[in-house]
């Protein structure tokens, strides 16, 4: 399955509010992307929010699944992104 399809599954899990399923789908998305030869050497999701947030300003993309499961505030942020895209 390609990265686009895996991303769809990730978004469906996000919209359903299922952190564990979203994390697993994101891992598969990352794996598919690697197989397609996409992504930089150390892709990192960054943001410009202050330290008042519980999530880090720089999260290596391969750590996003763990962060989704362990950090509800980060999950909410990623859910907003998924909702806006849909």
């Amino acid at each position: 399955m390609g990265s686009k399809e895996e991303w769809q599954k990730y978004q469906e899990a996000m919209r359903a509010g299922d952190a564990a399923a979203a994390a697993e789908a994101f891992r598969r998305f990352q794996e598919a992307k690697k197989q397609e030869g996409k992504g930089g050497s150390t892709p990192t999701l960054v943001n410009l929010s202050t330290k008042s947030k519980t999530y880090r300003n720089a999260i290596p993309v391969d750590q996003i699944p763990d962060e989704l499961v362990t950090n509800p505030e980060f999950f909410e942020l990623m859910k907003k992104i998924a909702d806006k895209e849909g």
Binding site: F29, K33, G39, G40, T44, L45, V46, T50, K84
Partner: protein
């Protein structure tokens, strides 16, 4: 009239964005830049009242814009209106469009451009020592630089804002990485323009890009 450019540079996101600012915006402006350790409240207080444009990049919250090491630069309701009156203000920061932006407009700034939620992008952490070479980050950050350069060309705030939005749309249409594409759409949907959309500043001289990379890049502490 000079400009005030306040650019933090102390962690991965500020390093990435400051690299693009240094490469694509700063060379067009007068040599008074609040960069890195100078991105603090006191130098800002001295520089801002004399400027026609304030360009800021740093961490932010609904009511706060910060500089180096999150030193507060602008806090809603806690600054002298003289610092912002009549100015065109662009802040590349998270959430400042929620409370700080409206407060700036209420206190007389001509126009404010910022974001109502987190500003996110994907960067290559291995390129922190030459951030302008990061093509993943460029996908999100170049529309911001293009918008700022449109302001510096003398275009209206509305025109500059539209250039940034079009940049996100154009890049999203061709982006193959779904995560980067979703960041582009998210940032686009959160961009706001408050105040007078016809506000503009004196045009600065155009420069031919690309310039050679700026010389000063220190390790992130």
């Amino acid at each position: 009239m000079p400009s005030t450019v306040c650019i933090a540079d102390f962690d991965l996101p500020t390093r990435s964005a400051s690299g693009f600012m240094l490469r694509h915006v700063v060379p067009r402006l007068e040599p008074i830049h609040l960069f890195s350790i100078l991105a603090r409240r006191f130098p800002f207080q001295l520089s801002a009242p004399q400027s026609d444009i304030i360009i800021g990049m740093g961490h932010g919250d609904v009511d706060t814009f910060t500089g180096q090491n999150e030193a507060v630069i602008l806090d809603a309701g806690r600054y002298n209106p003289r610092e912002v009156r009549g100015k065109v203000i662009k802040l590349l920061s998270c959430q400042t469009g929620v409370e700080l932006g409206p407060d700036l407009v209420k206190n007389g700034c001509a126009v404010f451009m910022g974001y109502t939620d987190d500003y996110l992008w994907v960067m290559d952490a291995d390129l922190a020592s030459r951030p302008w070479a990061d093509e993943m980050a460029a996908t999100c950050l170049m529309p911001v630089m293009d918008g700022i350069n449109a302001l510096l060309d003398g275009k209206t705030a509305r025109e500059a804002f539209d250039i940034e939005l079009e940049g996100y749309g154009r890049n999203a249409a061709v982006e193959e990485d779904e995560l980067i594409k979703s960041c582009l759409k998210f940032n686009r949907s959160n961009a706001v323009l408050l105040g007078d959309p016809m506000a503009r500043i004196r045009a600065r001289p155009r420069i031919k890009l690309p310039l050679p990379p700026p010389p000063l890049i220190l390790p992130i502490s």
